[in-house]
Symmetry: C2
Subunit: 218 residues, 2 copies
Amino acid sequence: MNKTKNDTTVSAAVIKRLPRYFRYLRMLLNENKLRISSNDLAELMGVTASQIRQDLNCFGGFGQQGYGYNVTYLYGKISEILGVHENYQAIIIGAGRLGQALAASPVFTKRGVEVCALFDVSADVIGKEVDGRPVLDISQMKEFVKNNAIDIAVLTLPYEYAENAVELIKSLGIKGIWNFTSHDMDHIPGVTVQNVHMGDSLMMLCYDIRNLDNNNEV
Amino acid sequence: MNKTKNDTTVSAAVIKRLPRYFRYLRMLLNENKLRISSNDLAELMGVTASQIRQDLNCFGGFGQQGYGYNVTYLYGKISEILGVHENYQAIIIGAGRLGQALAASPVFTKRGVEVCALFDVSADVIGKEVDGRPVLDISQMKEFVKNNAIDIAVLTLPYEYAENAVELIKSLGIKGIWNFTSHDMDHIPGVTVQNVHMGDSLMMLCYDIRNLDNNNEV
DNA sequence: TAGATTGTTAATCGATTAACAATC
DNA sequence: TAGATTGTTAATCGATTAACAATC
């Protein structure tokens, strides 16, 4: 997996940095900056130019000696690597506040992912629309997924109910799970998972604040 | 910063893993498992026992030779390191869908952080309550923060409006920003920031799905 | 051409893992 | 005591940085 131009594996450390490059390149495009050197990009992002050149070279020679990088081209390449143009289709399982917030947020469209529908068990939300997407009964999910070639399931339901959802997801051939439940989901055969633990980020913030305090006290 | 028992710095790599230990230890407590060896915990978490022992030893000898780790004790220690018992007070700036979703989620209470209020500019939400917390007019923020010793500001507003909020935050002595806007906020003097980029996680999911595809095709 | 900046190799640094003595 | 398992040192591995030749 993760082949480069030379058919060697790209490390997870590099992959993890790609979305950040994607964001900064998009920003540059918005500012009509069409050319950038690894040095300038490094300063902008707070990393070393060496790292940027190394990272990009895992996938190919995207720059040009003496010139730097063409932002449009580079943005396109990184988008491609990250699958932005693959037009993945997603459903959201759990139409509570978080599920609805995600459905209405630009997080999907910005990355070329389309949210087709939300699913829930509660009569309170079934039949509603969220930002133009229908909220359907979970019992309709099987047929919906078959008819709509769904690639991604977003789990925004309490983790107690997630197990059933995962079984369904596996059986329907959905390829990726974006997991917002509070429990890690790893090693599901045939399905790739990204666990989002917002709480972890909050705890690191608390750690930093506490550390700030300690330093000030000393 | 980040001192150990020996007054040496703890690496960011270790700190980043602490919240995950916290989660797994809480899980063990819920299952009434009161004792665990580094080996068993390693298997549970999918890491090496060596790493666990090294990580924990950055902060002190939390285990006992021949016995392992007392889960209650270890959970308490890690909670302490992460500032769970510091009773930090938070406000949420931006009472849209995401702000409301966070206010109503257990992500704060599980980590001992209290959400005091939400702030917004829209008359549609000002005056409402979300899970018992008032939604106030942003113009009231200054006084509210002074009266309530707020430690953390959660930014769930469009990033175009975030700059003003950050100025206010700095001037009011708030120590930490939990940033959900789509732009990194770094190097704010006197304030520590955690940037949450959910989109980055979605992109890595897309990358993995695409890679899964490629492998299957070969 | 001369200047700039990449692509890439080599050197350094840090993080992870293995091993084992200490000790409960 | 014997067995188990930590705390900790030493060895390995990988990631980052520095340097520079290639080249636009």
